[in-house]
Symmetry: C2
């Protein structure tokens, strides 16, 4: 149940978060044999777009429950973003000896992660009946990183360790706004949920 | 059993590799409460230096078995390295308008990872009687990355996924020689060992 050479191809940015919890970027058909080897019981998809047909077929035929919590990948005010973008281009055009790609990619420091959605997703993550479980978004960096970061806060990881893990996956794409979201996230309401994870207090 | 504020401080570059297997940089006393929460049965240290007193005391008082497989962190031919370093400085000094720090840091593309040592360490990793187990070196990048990479080859991960994981931890410090070592590592002799890990074939 692997590729032609008998090798497994884990999805981009795949990693084990804790017992029965995995994270990754969007799985492709090439990753299905690997995902089958995990014996997944459920998948949390954090993208709002309809699940691709091949993936929908995969979860159905493997008896995997799909939980979709749609979070926009890039939720900043696009009109504001465009106006800043235009401004930057006009500044750059007015200075000599500067070449700027017209589709200049802006940093996105103000992407809003909806707290309620993360809370609902976290409940699914914490319910061991759903394990083994895979959390994924598109690239496995921002939305997945925020959900995992909130899970780490529940495990009482200090903030710098939460950020260290977030940055390992997001790397150059790390967002201040994501880290601020995790910093502000209040995990205290989850106090009385069952916690039998490897890294939690016993 | 945490820091003053009740937060856990995982070691630098801490992550879960698979069921019962963790990886990290060198644990500090601040990390001990977190490591206690993992209920470790053993630790693999890949550094050749004597284990620090505080760490030795920690493993002893927690009934953790320490396996030390000393691998030099930087094993390139130092005389060769020095002569290259000198050469580069002399080239740079002869060209005008170039400032070079006298202790120019060289890339280390020829660090030798000793295969026999990795094989011995891998046997310890594969023995479930040693789990939960922590693998660590100094920064949790190169030596730990190579051992984990060889473990992934045993799990039949394709090479690009092995490298993707290696690079996530080594980042800008990624070494071609480490990746070449993992590429050449022949995992076939381990075929008949018990494999009941989450990502292995069932």
């Amino acid at each position: 149940p692997t590729d032609d050479d008998g090798f497994y191809i884990p999805p981009l940015n795949f990693a084990m978060v804790d017992n029965g919890i995995f994270r990754s970027g969007f799985p492709d058909t090439a990753n299905f044999p690997f995902l089958q080897s995990l014996g997944l019981r459920s998948i949390i998809c954090l993208c709002p777009e309809p699940y691709p047909e091949a993936n929908a077929e995969f979860v159905k035929s493997n008896g995997i429950q799909l939980f979709q919590f749609g979070i926009e990948g890039c939720k900043e005010d696009r009109s504001l973003s465009k106006s800043i973008s235009k401004r930057i281009r006009s500044i750059c055009h007015s200075s000599r000896n500067t070449t700027v790609h017209p589709n200049i990619e802006l940093e996105e420091p103000f992407v809003n992660i909806p707290e309620d959605t993360i809370r609902e997703a976290l409940k699914v993550v914490l319910d061991e009946k759903n394990h083994p479980l895979l959390i994924h978004c598109n690239r496995g960096k921002h939305r997945t990183g925020c959900l995992v970061g909130c899970f780490r806060k529940l495990q009482r990881w200090c903030l710098s360790s939460v950020f260290d893990e977030y940055q390992r996956f997001a790397a150059a794409k790390s967002r201040v706004s994501d880290q601020r979201f995790m910093e502000l996230f209040d995990a205290s309401s989850f106090k009385h949920l069952p916690m039998s994870f490897s890294c939690s207090m016993r």
